[in-house]
């Protein structure tokens, strides 16, 4: 997929982030924005695994939950610092994601999707039944807040900062041999093998990284709410982050973020909580039917045209007429 090169996406994200941060004053909306930002991070992790590597994961929310519980356990049981918690929130999901991928990635991408669903169920049961560590049904409360991001407003800045860093890392990866390998193996594994790509190792690494992104989101969540319980980062969130990524355009770096914002705002307007699933499911099917590349897929031609009008073409790009030959 033709991406805007280098760090155009993170630059755009940074710009949008600063705009948001400056414009948002209403405390209610700041709270909404923090939640949407955390969901956008998990949606970004879907973008990496599904949009780039073609591996559908239905366990991204459980990975975030593992991140949240990791930092929660370190904070509540051991009095550890949030930074120690961050290390745990990155390493634990990354390791688990990597191992799961190692186990099943040789198979059909579909089998991977099912394996993640199984993993999600296992994580849920473990969280509910391991009372002494996770607090079982009660959950973990009293997770220490971040001293350096105490107010919701400061926390919002922190979430934005993390998003921009994650996007920059994501872009780095895409612009490397690994990003190209992921795109190749999503398209055709045999083609990637013929390039000499160690398919299992590379996709497992990407899957682990994607789980780590979700873990960081979980870390942000735990320290924001100061509490994490078994119902917080569950199946419904796994579904909505996939939906966010698909709506925005999973193969575009910024697609999941756009999807998270659009869906996050729309969700506030939905009348009944019970109908959330119907809305999610229906929208997902609709998007797959009419706009497979998501909102950014629709916007891309317009955007490219506008860009051509404003910015002179870089020398390497062939002129339009030559390109059609």
């Amino acid at each position: 997929m033709k991406q805007l090169r280098n760090h155009a996406n993170s630059a755009a994200a940074l710009l949008i982030a600063v705009l948001f941060a400056l414009l948002l004053r209403d405390p209610v909306w700041i709270d909404v924005a923090v939640v949407i930002g955390i969901q956008a991070l998990i949606a970004l992790s879907v973008g990496l695994s599904f949009g780039q590597a073609g591996l559908l994961s239905l366990a991204q929310a459980p990975f975030a939950a593992i991140g949240a519980y990791a930092t929660g356990i370190i904070s509540v049981h051991y009095g550890g610092s949030p930074l120690a918690g961050l290390a745990g929130a990155i390493m634990l999901p990354a390791l688990l994601g990597y191992l799961l991928a190692r186990l099943v990635i040789r198979l059909e991408p579909l089998a991977v999707a099912l394996a993640t669903l199984s993993l999600a169920a296992i994580v849920e049961v473990v969280i509910r039944s391991w009372d002494s560590v996770t607090g079982g049904y009660v959950g973990l409360s009293g997770i220490s807040p971040l001293a350096w991001a105490a107010s919701p407003r400061e926390y919002f800045w922190l979430v934005l900062l993390v998003i921009v860093i994650v996007i920059a890392l994501y872009e780095n990866l895409l612009a490397s041999r690994f990003g190209r390998a992921l795109n190749t193996l999503r398209h055709d594994r045999a083609r990637a093998m013929a390039d000499g790509v160690p398919v299992v190792a590379v996709s497992s690494a990407a899957f682990g990284l994607s789980a780590a992104f979700a873990g960081v989101a979980g870390w942000l969540y735990a320290h924001y709410v100061s509490y994490v319980g078994p119902g917080d980062l569950g199946t419904h969130l796994s579904i909505s982050v996939v939906l966010m990524a698909v709506i925005g355009g999973a193969s575009y770096v910024l697609g999941p973020v756009v999807g998270a914002i659009v869906l996050g705002v729309l969700m506030r307007m939905l009348p009944a909580q019970e109908l959330q699933g119907l809305f999610y499911g229906g929208t997902l099917i609709l998007i797959l039917l009419v706009a497979r590349d998501g909102l950014l897929g629709i916007a891309e031609p317009w955007f490219a045209r506008a860009l051509r009008a404003i910015v002179p073409q870089p020398a390497r790009v062939a002129p339009e007429d030559e390109r059609r030959t």
């Binding site: 073609g54 559908l56 239905l58 799961l100 186990l103 099943v104 040789r106 198979l107 059909e108 991408p109 579909l110 089998a111 999707a113 099912l114 394996a115 669903l117 199984s118 993993l119 169920a121 296992i122 049961v125 473990v126 509910r128 039944s129 594994r189 045999a190 093998m193 013929a194 398919v199 199946t235 579904i239 996939v242 939906l243 698909v246 009944a272 019970e274 109908l275 959330q276 699933g277 119907l278 809305f279 999610y280 499911g281 229906g282 929208t283 997902l284 099917i285 797959l288 039917l289 497979r292």
Partner: protein
Amino acid sequence: MLLFTEYVIRGLFLGAMYGLLALPMSLAFVTVGTIDFAVGAYALLAAAIGATVGGTLGALLGLAGALVASLVMAAVFVLLKRAGHHDTIMIALSSFGLAVAIGSIVLASWGSTAFVRQGLDAVWTVAGIRINPQGPINLAVGLALLAGLTALLFGTGLGRMLRASAVNAQGAELAGIPVVAVQALIFAAGGLLGGIAGLLILYSSGLDFTAGLSLTLSGFAASIVFGVSNPARGFLGGLAIGVAEALSAGYGSGAMTALIPQFVVLLTLGLGMLGAGRYTGYRP
């Protein structure tokens, strides 16, 4: 020993329903190369309607509801194919969306209370083991449907078309078989079989609005544990998982029991018993 036998028998009755769910899963996997995540949701919908209306009419209406839902999936499948999306993961993803939507409809219309109905009050005692007749009924229905499906697959023209589309869709298309229509039929069959399973569960252990995806997973686990290649293996897989769950519930903890299908899926996949080698690049 008596207790053990009772657990095993209870497991077989439970497993019959997993086996039933496994039938459409393996059909869809083998012929379309995809997974219908909504199979468990069809069961849920049938059970919800069946619980509300009750009796034979309720069962029929429940089946009709499940069938309608699966026809929606079949229509989505055809539309996706028409739009030129041959990516099986997109089909699976849309079935996932349907499963979530059905769960939400059930929650909004019936609330979060569990659906369960007492069918038969009688209790048989056979050699000291107490059996609710609903159990043998489940097993009998499961076996009858398995036999019917096997006969359909291996004894009729439609079955030949199904198998031909499974082995080589392109070749079947060239031979004049309406592959997309045949595959759409598979999704519809998922509604019927899933619906029957849902009704049986309604009259046995009961279920609530969250059951959709976990039933799909149990069905999938059943369909792959002994190999996905034919329906009989899928049904046998269902029985095996049912027995394992019953033993675990009897001797172990509830949490363990809930994890059995998940571990079966992960282990079977990890051991590479599903579709491994399909990506070695070799195209016969």
